[in-house]
């Protein structure tokens, strides 16, 4: 598969440290919620750098949205966050991934567990769920450091009655917060995710340490390892 031209149609803040890039991709054939793309940047002297980004938009939407979280000392994310303008042309390869995906036809129940910017592929799944009018039961447990780090407030604010979103704050919670705080250990998971008896399809996405700790705890709680799909985000920038 070769690199396609992707024209930036919009760039807007998604949180204090993240932007949403809306792209029009030449020859885009559509995607499945959960898939990612590779973006490539090329300097004047021919130097190239590429990174993988999950797709945040739903397959039903005509343009492809990515959410880029800033990383300290990064090479690619600072450029995408601060320098990219509407009308710029990037190069994109994808969609990629046939494993960490969900279609409405697969039904539920579905348990999504996100750490930080690991929520991005789930934004695509939830938007797909809404636009498809799916009646699958979906739960999202979204772990983040601080309330202001939340991504996807638009999508998360208009989920249907079959979708339940739970936030867990590891550093600071909003005033009066009654929900989970701290790390997602077995206790928090037992209380806030679909139990193994419901045989959910479980998706876990986030930094490597987060994903491995959560997946390990889920297996401890009796979830079948093959029912858990994981996607580890690096911290490469």
């Amino acid at each position: 598969m070769s690199w396609a031209r992707a024209v930036v149609r919009a760039t807007c803040p998604e949180s204090a440290g993240a932007v949403r890039l809306v792209l029009e991709v030449d020859g885009w054939s559509g995607h499945v919620a959960g898939q990612h793309v590779d973006l490539r940047l090329t300097a004047e002297d021919g130097y190239t750098a590429w990174r993988s980004y999950s797709i945040a938009s739903a397959p039903q939407q005509p343009l492809v949205s990515l959410v880029v979280q800033g990383v300290d000392g990064g090479e690619v994310s600072p450029y995408l966050i601060s320098d990219v303008q509407e009308g710029d042309v990037l190069e994109l390869r994808g969609p990629i991934g046939g494993h960490f995906v969900w279609r409405a036809a697969l039904g539920g129940p579905v348990q999504l567990i996100a750490g930080g910017s690991g929520v991005v592929p789930f934004l695509s799944m939830l938007e797909h769920h809404r636009l498809a009018g799916s009646d699958a039961e979906v739960r999202l447990l979204y772990a983040l450091r601080n309330p202001q780090d939340v991504l996807g407030t638009g999508v998360l604010g208009q989920v249907g009655p079959r979708v339940q979103v739970t936030y867990a704050y590891s550093r600071s919670a909003p005033p009066g917060w009654q929900g989970p705080t701290g790390r997602l250990d077995a206790g928090v998971l037992a209380e806030h995710v679909c139990g193994p008896a419901a045989a959910p399809q479980t998706f876990v996405c986030g930094p490597t340490g987060f994903v491995e700790a959560v997946a390990g705890a889920l297996v401890q709680l009796g979830h079948v390892p093959t029912s858990i799909k994981t996607e580890r985000y690096g911290d490469a920038a």
Binding site: M1, H36, V37, D38, G46, T48, W50, S52, G73, R93, G94, I96, G97, G98, H99, F100, T208, G209, E212, K229, T230, E231, R232, Y233, G234, D235, A236
Partner: protein, 103 residues
């Protein structure tokens, strides 16, 4: 910054699927990969990828043995050199549209 307490920078094999498209015509993330060292089998996308080395190194999630090494270096001529060491894969099973089949 990585410190002693953070785990290794392991990614999922999923992140290898894009680069492999330089060599293969299909997305291999859902293909079942069997390890030559321990016979462990899992989707390629669920194996463990070390992406910070001189080349991409995919390791078996069961025994951490090397399944595959892959690199692509672009040259100013517009040609890229792709290197692939597949010696750690005993078997790769992918489901693809059969040639000439009607859907």
């Amino acid at each position: 910054m990585t410190s002693i307490d953070t785990p290794d920078r392991r990614l999922d094999g999923n992140a290898l699927a894009g680069p492999l498209l330089e060599l293969f015509t299909i997305d291999l993330s859902a293909a079942m990969a069997t390890c030559v060292h321990c016979d462990g089998t899992a989707p390629l996308g669920e194996q463990q990828l070390y992406a910070d080395a001189p080349a991409l190194v995919l390791r078996c999630r069961d025994c951490t043995g090397v399944l595959l090494r892959y690199s692509a270096d672009s040259h100013s001529t517009g040609i890229a050199t792709v290197r692939a060491d597949l010696s750690g894969l005993r078997l790769l099973v992918a489901h693809v549209p059969a040639a000439g089949a009607s859907r």
